[in-house]
Every structure is written in structure tokens, then in C-alpha cells.
């Protein structure tokens, strides 16, 4: 981030030790026991539950009518029905996820199809993609962050069909970026030569959203 005062775990906070007002910074705050054996991105804390965050009502999406469509910059499209998605090679990634609202959840278990499989035969030189959802949500990502075993269309969480609140029947899963990039109720991926902001990105959130660089908001 661009802040002159990045969090400094394990060392004195430069702000806390140099306050022009002379007042102590949050005196008496101790916080929880520091997490051991895990690595948290800056500003995150470990969460055992699975909180839900969505900008609107949860849409009802039936897998019998679900489809996923990739559109290249040429206009060419490729679509998969639910049955076709299930017939593709399946991965079972176990990954850590990081929400911009500051919770991180370790060792989440998913099943789904790698974007490497879905995009393999798509003709495109685009560097960016806009992912769209049932319900109208959108989010933009670099194509480089969707390829190379880094992103999936996930339909199973912890051995069970993905619950609608968490994006079922299928959501994008891009665990190395903040979780708003992992669009729930995913239905489309449109390749773009030039980056354009998606839903939250238009509202001030970061275009990439790398939790390890704490890219929460535009300008971070």
C-alpha cells in the first residue's frame, strides 16, 4: 500500500511512537494471541466461520439452466452447460482465502474445473477479463491471474454442493486475490484488450486486489 505507515508486526509502530498530539495510540489495546503456524497477509485476521458478503439478494440459480460462457475479443464464444462442466477434468484445491473485510480462512477445500481447462482453446491476445454473474455482479481480473493453476470454476465446498449464499451452484475461485474477485453465481467471462473496472472496482476498490500487497482500495 502507499501508506507511509505500513503495519509493522513484531516491531514498534512508527505512528504509535511518533504522535504529534502526544496522546497514546489505542492505549490498553492488546489484541488476540498472535497467530502461530500460519501466515496472514497484512491487516487480516484468521476466521473459523465462513462469513457471507454480497451487494444484493442471493439469486436463485438452477444448475439445470446454468451455463458458463467465455467471449473472446473477436466476439467468438464458447459455452458449457452444467453437465458439460461436470464432464471436464476436476481439481480439488485446498487453499487459503482472504476477504477485503479482513477475515482470512485457512485450508478451505474446493472442487471445480481449472480455468486452464476452460480457456485452453480460446483464441485471444487479451490481457484482461471481465467476469460476470447471475444477478449482475461483475469483477475485472488480469488474464495472467486466471491461468497457471491459479483459478477455478468451483461447485463444491468442503465436500458438499456450494451453498447459494456462497455463490452456488458455481463461483469463480481465485484464492490469491481478495475474495471479491472470486465472483459468486458466475456465468460469463469476457476477454478485454483494455482493463475496465467491475462492480466494486468502480466503487473505489482495487483493480488487482493482491492481499499480500494490501491492495484494498484504488491507489493502494
Amino acid at each position: 500500500m502507499t501508506s507511509a505507515n505500513p503495519p509493522a508486526p513484531g516491531g514498534p509502530d512508527p505512528v504509535g511512537s511518533d504522535l504529534s498530539s502526544g496522546a497514546a495510540l489505542t492505549p490498553g489495546f492488546r489484541g488476540r494471541a498472535r497467530p502461530k503456524g500460519v501466515t496472514l497477509p497484512p491487516g487480516q485476521y484468521a476466521e473459523e466461520g465462513f462469513p457471507v458478503l454480497s451487494a444484493g439478494p442471493t439469486p436463485n440459480v438452477d444448475s439445470s439452466t446454468w451455463s458458463f460462457t467465455v467471449t473472446a475479443e473477436s466476439g467468438a464464444t464458447r459455452s458449457w452447460t452444467w453437465a458439460e462442466l461436470m464432464a471436464l477434468p476436476q481439481d480439488e484445491p485446498t487453499v487459503d482465502i482472504h476477504c477485503v473485510t479482513r477475515w482470512s480462512k485457512f485450508g478451505t477445500r474446493w472442487r471445480g474445473v481449472s480455468l486452464d481447462v476452460l480457456l485452453a482453446d480460446v483464441e485471444s491476445t487479451a490481457d484482461f477479463a471481465m467476469v460476470g454473474s447471475y444477478g449482475g455482479y461483475t469483477t475485472n481480473l488480469p488474464v495472467a491471474d486466471l491461468l497457471g493453476g491459479k483459478a477455478w470454476i468451483a461447485h463444491t465446498f468442503d465436500g458438499k454442493p456450494l451453498h447459494p449464499e456462497h455463490g452456488g451452484p458455481a463461483r469463480l475461485l481465485v484464492p490469491h486475490l481478495y475474495f471479491w474477485k472470486s465472483a459468486k453465481w458466475v456465468r460469463s467471462l469476457t476477454l478485454m484488450p483494455v482493463d475496465r473496472p467491475g462492480f466494486w472496482e468502480k466503487l473505489g476498490y482495487h483493480d488487482l486486489g493482491d492481499p499480500w500487497r494490501e491492495q484494498r482500495y484504488q491507489g493502494d
Binding site: 500500500m1 501508506s3 516491531g11 496522546a23 495510540l25 488476540r32 466461520g49 439478494p57 439469486p59 482500495y217
Partner: protein, 262 residues
């Protein structure tokens, strides 16, 4: 990292970069488990009703914890640079028990914001379209900012608030909500209790029903702007009922807080 995009909408909602040091100038109890913190934030750029801010707390060993809180105050407070948040104590929380029970007036905290441009209501841009606010528990805080924005602007946009809270003791802003409704300028509020009610209450303690939501809200034909904020289960239930009543999902804005709130 990305190519520049001309006149991007994001610029309108740009978050001021970096953290600034704010001072707690006052605090007041809203209920036995919730306190309003009055922060003096030099250079606060102003906010829209419904936006939130980030607070960063620092422990003696340099450990920091960051949390987001909805701004409770309206966009035009009497004192420039004063921003209020209302914090509900979460029993096993890391941050909220400190803010509610310990954080002393006169001390400092780092603030970043305002943040968020979706769950917002603006008395100029959004005037005229009826508004339905549905709040569960401390989900009242951001919609209270909207009610305050309306009052500050002298706006008469029809507002209806439905507030679901466990018990009378847990209610926030009780007198102020009564005063807003008593102005007779188109603000109506309905409050229900889900856990306990007085012996003389006509309605037993239970969750908000579909028929209550329909009769205390607006009919979908009026195409109201709807804001729903509260715990995940509450928001899911209310949003589903609203869609079943015929409200366009695109006009329903939600903000959820899960078990992670703390």
C-alpha cells in the same frame, strides 16, 4: 499494473490513501452493549450516508488490528471533522470489547476512509424516490446515517424504516428515532423485538414476518430504493421476502455482517 482508464468512476469514490490519526473526543452509551464514539478526524473529506471507515488499533508490541465500522453520523455534522461510529460489543470479539469498554476519551486511533459507494443514500442525487430501510440489530447504524442525512438536508423523501432488534434494552437511537417520526415530514419507523417483549405487547417476540415486511414497507409498484443491513441470516431472509413480493433485486442493496464481526 493496469492501463489508465479516462475519467473512471472509481475516482469519484477514491479512498484517501494512507491512515490518519484521529482523537476520541467523546463517547456515549446507546445501549448496555453499544457505544457511540465521537472521533475528531482532521481533514475528514466528508462522507455519504451509509459509507464506512476503517479503524486500526495498535498494541504495545506493534501488533495491529483493523476493522471496518459504518459511519453513524450524517454527512453534514455541526462540527467539521467530527465523525461518529456506533460499535456493538461482540462477546468474543478482538476489537469491539476494547472500543466499547476501554478506549478512553482523549486517546488516539488511526482512521482511513470514507469507503464504499454502493450502500449509500444521497439527499440530492436520490431525493424523491421512496426509501425502505430494513435493519437488524446494529445494522441500524448505516441506515441511521441515511435518516440523519435526510433530516440535515430538510429533505422530505418518504422514508420507512423497519428495525428488528432482540429486546427493548438493545435498541439504538430510541429517542432520536421517535423524534424523527414525530416530525410529521414523511419518516415512519416500525420496531419489532425478536427475543423478549413487555407483558402488555400486542406482538409476541418473533422474527419479522413476510406480511409485516409487506405492510410496513412500500409496495413494489412504487419502485422504492431498498437498503437491508444486518446479520447474514436476517439479510438473506429479508431480501428473499422482498424479491418474492415483487421488488426488483437490482433495487435492493444489502450489507451483511457475519460471525466475523468483532
Amino acid at each position: 499494473m493496469t492501463e489508465a482508464v479516462g475519467a473512471r468512476l472509481g475516482a469519484r469514490y477514491a479512498v484517501p490513501s494512507g491512515w490518519q490519526v484521529a482523537t476520541l473526543v467523546d463517547r456515549r452509551a446507546e445501549s448496555p452493549s453499544a457505544e457511540t464514539l465521537v472521533l475528531d478526524v482532521p481533514g475528514w473529506p466528508g462522507h455519504q450516508a451509509g459509507q464506512h471507515l476503517d479503524l486500526r488499533l495498535t498494541a504495545p508490541d506493534g501488533y495491529t488490528a483493523e476493522r471496518s465500522y459504518s459511519v453513524a453520523s450524517g454527512p453534514t455534522p455541526p462540527d467539521a471533522g467530527r465523525v461518529e461510529v456506533t460499535v456493538q460489543r461482540v462477546a468474543d470479539g478482538e476489537v469491539s470489547p476494547y472500543l466499547v469498554d476501554v478506549f478512553p476519551p482523549g486517546s488516539s486511533i488511526e482512521v482511513r476512509g470514507p469507503i464504499g459507494g454502493w450502500f449509500v443514500w444521497d439527499p440530492v442525487r436520490d431525493a424523491g424516490t421512496p426509501v425502505l430501510l430494513v435493519a437488524g440489530g446494529s445494522g441500524l447504524v448505516p441506515v441511521m446515517s441515511m435518516a440523519r442525512a435526510r433530516r440535515e438536508a430538510g429533505d422530505r423523501t418518504p422514508f420507512r424504516l423497519i428495525y428488528s432488534v432482540r429486546t427493548a434494552e438493545d435498541q439504538l437511537y430510541t429517542d432520536e428515532l421517535a423524534a424523527l417520526a414525530a416530525r410529521g415530514d414523511g419518516f415512519e419507523a416500525s420496531t419489532i423485538f425478536t427475543r423478549a417483549v413487555s407483558l402488555t405487547a400486542l406482538r409476541g417476540p418473533r422474527r419479522l414476518t413476510s406480511s409485516e415486511l409487506a405492510s410496513w414497507g412500500w409496495p413494489p409498484e412504487l419502485e422504492p430504493r431498498v437498503y437491508v443491513c444486518g446479520p447474514t441470516g436476517f439479510v438473506e431472509a429479508v431480501a428473499s421476502m422482498l424479491v418474492a413480493h415483487g421488488h426488483d433485486p437490482a433495487r435492493i442493496r444489502t450489507e451483511r455482517f457475519g460471525p466475523a464481526a468483532g
